[in-house]
Symmetry: D2
Subunit: 260 residues, 4 copies
């Protein structure tokens, strides 16, 4: 997707079959672009997406300022609880941990820091139905869980926060990554409690209230994912960053697929 901080210089989507009906649609609060692929015949489907993006890196603050917005109303929907972010049930805990920090931005930074220090990155503890209360309980999870808990704390403190699925340069092993953005004084700041990749090498794929809104791919019918591969490089040119991305997916059967 294009935002005020990232511009697509070139991109291509190569599809292994020629009986695929393709349409681009915009979904959700942020009009995230999805590509819908429909097939009528069962069988294997290979996808290869390549793009080069130009990222604007904002060096103010520790976070990347991903988008400037002066209208509070655009951020307001991100203050409400959502499927994996029951912030309405986390006010007591959020206040206990962060109410003594003064200033919204300082609170958000304290939240990111708390995540890094208190949540253990561990695969296998959480699943796709885990929500922020689970991560608070187990103190462990993957990037998605870190993001949900961070968003929950923010919203519980009346800071709008949203979920962002990204390509992350420097993430090892290479994979999609999930982070969050907080809205303070008209600006969305990027945060990542896992600290697994540099904030200025992240390209947004999709965003929304939580993972339910920002899936990398949504499958309908009996689509089965077979393999997925993501790669990104980085080419800096003074204060601008160019980031080529490669993404390959192989699917079997099913009849519709939405790609973020």
């Amino acid at each position: 997707m294009e935002t005020s901080c990232q511009r697509i210089l070139e991109e291509s989507l190569t599809i292994s079959r020629n009986d695929v009906v393709r349409s681009d649609i915009k979904l959700g609060l942020d009009a995230v672009r999805y590509t819908k692929l429909e097939v009528n015949e069962r069988g294997e489907l290979g996808l290869s997406y390549n793009a080069t993006l130009q990222l604007k890196v904002n060096t103010v603050g520790i976070g990347k300022i991903s988008e400037g917005e002066n209208f509070n109303s655009a951020a307001l929907p991100y203050i409400f609880p959502s499927r994996y972010v029951p912030s309405d049930r986390m006010r007591a805990v959020a206040n206990d941990l962060f109410a003594n920090v003064s200033g919204k931005f300082a609170q958000a930074l304290a939240i990111e820091d708390w995540l890094f220090k208190n949540i253990y990155y561990q695969v296998g503890i959480s699943n796709e139905q885990s929500w922020a209360l689970d991560t608070l309980e187990t103190r462990s999870g993957v990037c998605r869980d870190f993001a949900h808990l961070g968003i929950a704390f923010c919203r519980a403190l009346s800071i709008p926060a949203r979920y962002v699925t990204v390509y992350a340069y420097g993430l090892y092993p290479q994979d999609f990554h999930a982070v969050f953005e907080v809205f303070v004084d008209g600006i969305w700041y990027l945060m990542d409690g896992t600290r697994k990749a540099p904030l200025n090498g992240m390209v947004s794929i999709a965003r929304g209230r939580d993972a339910a809104d920002a899936a990398v791919a949504t499958l309908f019918g009996n689509v089965m994912g077979q393999s997925m591969m993501v790669q990104s490089e980085i080419a800096t040119d003074e204060d601008e960053i160019f980031m080529p991305i490669t993404r390959e997916m192989l699917m079997r059967d099913g009849n519709a697929l939405y790609l973020g």
Copy 2:
């Protein structure tokens, strides 16, 4: 709000104080209109809203067709789980109860019917944090709970469904009401598992994924609601319905208020 099925013929909002800064904003997926009221001085604030709407009543089907849409993509966000609608955790139950019904619209009708027959309308069992799994457990709740459970079953069966806050003519005692809409073959159909008021006397105030998106009023600061009064009448003129509405609220203190 105006939709393809309801037109505002006239309206007025009377505010008891003249130091209120008023602005109208549109929020969320459906661009629901909210009125933001800000005050600087503490004290009492009285509101009185009067409107007359013209409703188009569609007599096809048992539900009111509230809006025609041919693009599946507009409905797609309403297939995902949300705060009070964890449809991703209700597939087994939904399939157990409704998989034997054939056809999406017939399934939605079966769901509405099941709600009416199996959920007991009772005040005091649920609270503002209750979600569809609670209502499934207790088999009791208020209009909001009926709507959430109906939406959850629909989404679990891949039927887009959304939450609608309405003025309901004929509801006793007079109050706001919550119902749901399901999207089948390009049309949103109104459903109400409580069957407490006629479907053709409902005026939409706000809608969204669930109650988190479609609050009647959102208060910031220390606003305290003191009283609320809603009244609606109906004046039919052949096959069109005119519906005058009166709504009064009295609030104390606080500094911002969003009115749906």
Copy 3:
């Protein structure tokens, strides 16, 4: 009940009807005495219980030593999770809060203190299905909730802990009270995170793993409680305490009642 710390000097149970079949039974791990009352005819049933107990007050430590036990095995069942005490899900939080305190008894004292400082005593937030995770979430509740959360933290740290329903001298308003006991070095120590009544004026009525085991009265059939009144006084005689207790209950209909 009689324990190594409390002896019943005299007691009487007056029953308002003479068609009641009464039998005394011992239930559960601690052989708590219950009185079973069965009636065949519907109608009103009044109960009045009066007793005088002699309490041994152990002044070592801040807690009353309610019972000396040298066998770890008697305490072992109180280390496992129970209905309202999901200690198996609270290890991360318990370790986060109390792992830095050294010594089991010091940890238990730190837990009691944390409850007093962090949980707000409030009627109406919790209900009879609330468990320790709810209290951890809302940071508020009544004596039962304080006890469950305290027990949960203890068990999560491998300290056996049990729930005790008591008559509490000095509690205002006069009512039954719930506290907890922890087992350290062969001794059960009484703890009360609410600090609403002196520990040395408590008479145990029933105890068990949690409130499911230690109900004041369990009703079968359509018994309806109508009123309940509890009173206790205290008469000290040097280092021994004599405590007269009055308890009155009025019930309607139903056919069986177990009184702790």
Copy 4:
């Protein structure tokens, strides 16, 4: 353990090290026998248990009558909710499914049958923190989950029910198994919703309110299980059954172990 239906003819526990302090203790409501093994030195510990039991097979009813009891009070603790059996939250569902069946024993049979037909035996969906509400939601689980859900339905209908860990002859692959017993008219009847092994080839190892009470082995310290092997054969002699059992465990490190 010995019960009125099973007698230990001979048994032996072979321990691979001679620095182990062994003591036998009885725990919990049913005085289940546990063997406590303590070691002071870290290292590997191998256990081999062999026994031959004589089972009394009661052919009345479809369940094995494992124990005759005429005192309701002994069964009463098994009517209350416990950690993995929140029966207090399942009354609405239990009534919806089974209230139309008349008679307590018929209800219990209907429950066992419902489990067999509606719950899918699947490894990996549940974990050691799963409780009956999870299994009701996912409609899948292992023997432990079947037992917990069965017990929950029974208790919700006021039928005392308990959890039993057994050696099951004929179970494939050979492993421990979990079933449940219901108390009707003074008799405990064995039930198994998985129907994976014959009811008359089961030897009780431990029993209690739920899995929290009836663990096969409870480890303290840093004990790590390395392997476990269970084998049972059956030797019938007219209407009596003799059942030789072999059980081998290999553990590393840690300092205490309770074996059921």
